[in-house]
Amino acid sequence: MDQRTLLLTILGMALVTYIPRALPALTLSSRSLPGPVRRFLSFVPVAVLSALLLPSLLAPNAQLDFSGSNIFLWVSLILLPICIKTRSFFGTVAMGMGLVALARWLFGV
């Protein structure tokens, strides 16, 4: 693809990305939503974050991976109770990165 076509493709990508991002924020923010919709939206954060995270931990290459080399999964399982106990945002991120680095250094995976 030449750079000009690529530029136009990027503009198209930007448009189809921006519309779904902006439309609900611009149209729904000023009105009060019916109860069932509010309930639905209250579950969206937990559902979408988990729907993004879990596949990357359980099936990093679009295949279930419970082997020892799937460090992210095992580190996450160690990290979870620590995070629940400490409730520390930065602590969890720092410790997660540290554990991943340590596991790679120890096991060379």
């Binding site: 693809m1 076509t5 530029l7 136009l8 493709t9 990027i10 198209g12 990508m13 930007a14 189809v16 990305t17 921006y18 779904p20 991002r21 902006a22 609900p24 924020a25 611009l26 149209t27 729904l28 923010s29 939503l33 109860g35 069932p36 509010r38 309930r39 639905f40 939206l41 579950f43 969206v44 954060p45 937990v46 559902a47 979408v48 974050l49 988990s50 729907a51 993004l52 995270l53 879990l54 596949p55 359980l58 099936a59 679009a62 295949q63 279930l64 992210f72 580190v75 996450s76 520390s88 945002f89 930065f90 969890t92 991120v93 410790m95 997660g96 990165m97 991943v100 680095a101 790679r104």
Partner: protein, 250 residues
């Protein structure tokens, strides 16, 4: 007497001082995202250079599209020689999940002007959503706009900077894997998920959405899995909550 003197001197420019603090706090909260975005942006930049995109186009895509997974998929499609329309449609499907995020944050954007809402939406990513959906639930009152935008601009700059670095200096920087930087975003998601799970039902819905999303991915539904799993799980959550509250009161 002394304390009132101090109060008078420190409140000389109350608006400005607190505004700077808000900006600093927004930048600070974006830090895990910065740590995650620079290496992923870098990887995208390297891929972009590999498929023959110009520096300008790589940086432009990171400025205008600003969506990690979609950009990486687009780079893969470019490498495979896909047609522009295929890339645009794929981007649309992959990024459609932001619609749910935007709807979920909408009630909290009431104090913003239309222009501010438009700018906020432009910088809505999985990661900024994860942070804001937690911040906006803060019982101490509405989140400050300066903090919100400082956070968004910091994250966006990190993404653009990482992409630029990748496309211009791909050989300068060694692999980030030994430092564990590639785990910054998953770790952040874990922390935010824990912080936002307030009830047993939410825990079940979260787990259900994650497992369903994984199942759909394994079944080959690899671009719709996140949005489908989210809609189904959140709808189930809303239904169960409604039924349980009705049962309790009747």
């Amino acid at each position: 007497m002394h304390s009132t003197d101090n109060a008078a001197t420190t409140s000389d420019m109350p608006g400005q001082a607190s505004r700077q603090e808000k900006i600093a706090s927004g930048v600070r909260q974006a830090l895990p995202v910065v740590l995650g975005y620079i290496p992923v942006g870098f990887a995208f930049g390297v891929l972009g250079a590999k498929v023959g995109a110009s520096v300008f186009n790589v940086v432009l895509m990171s400025v205008l599209v600003y969506a990690g997974s979609a950009q990486l998929i687009a780079a893969g499609l470019l490498a495979a020689g896909a047609a522009p329309l295929t890339i645009i449609v794929t981007t649309f499907i992959v990024n459609l999940r932001h619609m749910l995020m935007s709807a979920s944050l909408a009630p909290h954007l009431r104090n913003m002007s239309k222009w501010e809402q438009a700018l906020f939406s432009f910088q809505l990513t999985d990661e900024s959503f994860a942070l804001h959906s937690g911040r906006f639930q803060d019982p101490h009152g509405p989140a400050a706009k300066a903090e919100t935008f400082a956070l968004n601009v910091t994250a966006h700059c990190a993404w653009v900077f990482g992409s630029w670095l990748g496309v211009t200096a791909s050989t300068l920087i060694a692999d980030v894997r030994p430092v564990g930087l590639d785990f910054a975003l998953p770790a952040m998601f874990i922390a935010l998920l824990v912080a936002q799970t307030h009830s047993r039902l939410q825990l079940c819905i979260g787990l259900g959405a994650g497992l369903l999303s994984t199942g759909l991915l394994l079944a080959g539904v690899n671009q719709w899995n996140v949005i489908l799993a989210t809609v189904i799980a959140a709808a189930l959550g809303a239904y169960l909550e409604e039924r349980w509250t009705n049962e309790r009161c009747c």
